[in-house]
């Protein structure tokens, strides 16, 4: 049993180490000066924080560990997970705001907002916004009549 508990410690240390490496990489990419890259870096940063919290939250002790220890373990896990979740939401929020501010209009802000809504368990059942390809237009010299083609020219 002791060995299995120690394994959890090792896994946690490995995950934290990898998180730090990825965090540094995305932070450097975010400072490269390209708005699009900065937005994507913030979004990825949010992803790794949220994935980390989800993975850590999912860690369980073996069933034969005494209940008191189980509770203490869960309390410890919560201590690690909550700030990470907050960081994830903060990074996601920053990514959304940056995308909107830069007016990239590539759909990224909308996709990130959907992710944020999912994290906040906010589901209004709103349909995805589809952008229709602009139709072909042509010139006419007839009187303007919106929505109705008035035929050829005189």
């Amino acid at each position: 049993m002791k060995a299995r508990v120690e394994k959890i410690g090792i896994v946690l240390a490995l995950k934290t180490e990898k998180l730090e490496k990825a965090q540094k990489a995305f932070q450097s990419a975010g400072k490269m000066g390209d708005t699009s890259v900065a937005v994507q870096s913030l979004a990825k940063l949010a992803d790794i924080y949220l994935d980390y919290s989800k993975a850590v939250k999912g860690m369980t002790l073996p069933a034969d560990v005494p209940e008191a220890d189980q509770k203490a373990f869960q309390a410890e896990i919560e201590q690690i997970v909550l700030p990470m979740e907050e960081k994830g939401i903060e990074a996601l929020n920053q990514a959304i705001e940056s995308a909107k501010k830069a007016a990239l209009l590539d759909g990224m802000a909308g996709r990130l907002q959907e992710k944020m809504d999912a994290v906040n368990m906010k589901s209004g059942g709103a349909p995805a916004i589809e952008v229709e390809a602009p139709p072909r237009m042509g010139p006419t010299f007839e009187r303007r009549s919106v929505g109705l083609w008035t035929g050829g020219l005189k």
Partner: protein, 327 residues
């Protein structure tokens, strides 16, 4: 004989076009760099007066064929015939017409414009941008239709996932030149809405609806903005109108029921809306894009029915002391 002279004309026009646009030939050139000739504007004025843009998806009211007009036909007849070719997507014929208009009316921007549209139709975007730039040079200034067409080409070239900021710039310029260019307004509304830039989206949706109150995509789009802003009354009004216009779209009624239930807190009205939808689906008068929407309909109706049954029971409990008092 006629075709031979046309081929010569092609060569001449190509050379003229090349010299006219030298310096910014290629894809999506920057029209901001173009210095327009005021004399060209003066010469082009008669060809531009009174024109506006029409949506080529809509059916032709008066039959204009994609064919050479009669011998006594005016340049307007040629433009009408070329427009019919663009609608028919007959690019070879359109190119021929563009050449003919360029030959007949040297000062008109329409020849180059149609040559640009034909090139785009054939997939030659470099030539398309080039010809569209030439048409503005001939017009002596920017043209709404040209800016719109450029935006369309850029959007097509980049794909929907790319940043639409440059396309949006062109669309905005097109609207500045023609504030009634409905598809440009609608496109901008949707692009801003997709990125949840609600104020901008709302502004464009409203402009579309001011022009065309029954524009369905803008009614449902603006309704979603109203839902996001918790503006229940406006959402109900817009969705009700959308349901009247297209009763076959199940999703609109589901959204209306959602607004009644969650924003207006009117479960009875929500239930009524869903029941109406269920009947419409059963009779084949409405359908959904997704199968799970229809299957979840009965479950949702049952939940609302149970919730509404519970309310009178609660109310009856509340009335007990008063009845006892009275009795």
């Amino acid at each position: 004989m006629k075709m031979q002279s046309l081929n010569k004309q092609t060569a001449v026009l190509t050379l003229v076009a090349m010299s006219a646009v030298s310096g910014f030939v290629g894809c999506a050139s920057s029209p901001e760099k173009v210095k327009y000739d005021p004399q060209a504007a003066e010469r082009a004025r008669p060809f531009l007066e009174g024109h506006h843009a029409v949506d080529l998806r809509l059916p032709v009211g008066r039959a204009v064929l994609c064919a050479d007009p009669k011998a006594e036909g005016t340049w307007k007849d040629w433009v009408a015939a070329a427009t019919a070719c663009a609608q028919k997507e007959d690019w070879a014929q359109l190119e021929r017409m563009g050449m003919e208009i360029s030959k007949r009316e040297v000062n008109s921007p329409w020849g180059a414009y149609f040559l640009g549209v034909a090139a785009a139709g054939k997939g030659d975007l470099t030539r398309a941008y080039w010809m569209l730039d030439l048409s503005e040079k001939k017009a002596g200034g920017p043209m709404a239709l040209v800016r719109y067409e450029r935006a369309r080409l850029m959007e097509r070239e980049q794909g929907p996932a790319a940043s639409a900021s440059e396309v949006a710039k062109e669309m905005k310029e097109a609207i500045r030149l023609d504030p009634e260019l409905l598809p440009a307004l609608s496109w901008l509304a949707q692009v801003y809405h997709r990125d949840r830039m609600l104020s901008e989206a709302e502004g464009y949706y409203r402009q579309v609806l001011d022009l065309k109150g029954d524009h369905w995509p803008s009614l449902t789009g603006l309704a979603e903005v109203a839902i996001e802003k918790s503006n229940a009354d406006e959402a109900v009004g817009l969705l009700s109108k959308a349901v009247t216009l297209r009763p076959e779209v199940a999703e609109t009624r589901v959204r209306l029921a959602h607004v009644y239930e969650n924003l207006k807190k009117d479960q009875a009205k929500s239930l009524e809306t869903l029941r109406e939808l269920k009947v419409a689906v059963e009779k084949g008068r409405a359908k959904s894009k997704t199968a799970d929407l229809v299957s979840s309909l009965s479950q949702k109706i049952r939940t609302l029915e149970q919730a509404l049954k519970a309310v009178p029971a609660e109310q009856a409990k509340g009335r007990e002391p008063a009845q006892k008092k009275g009795g």
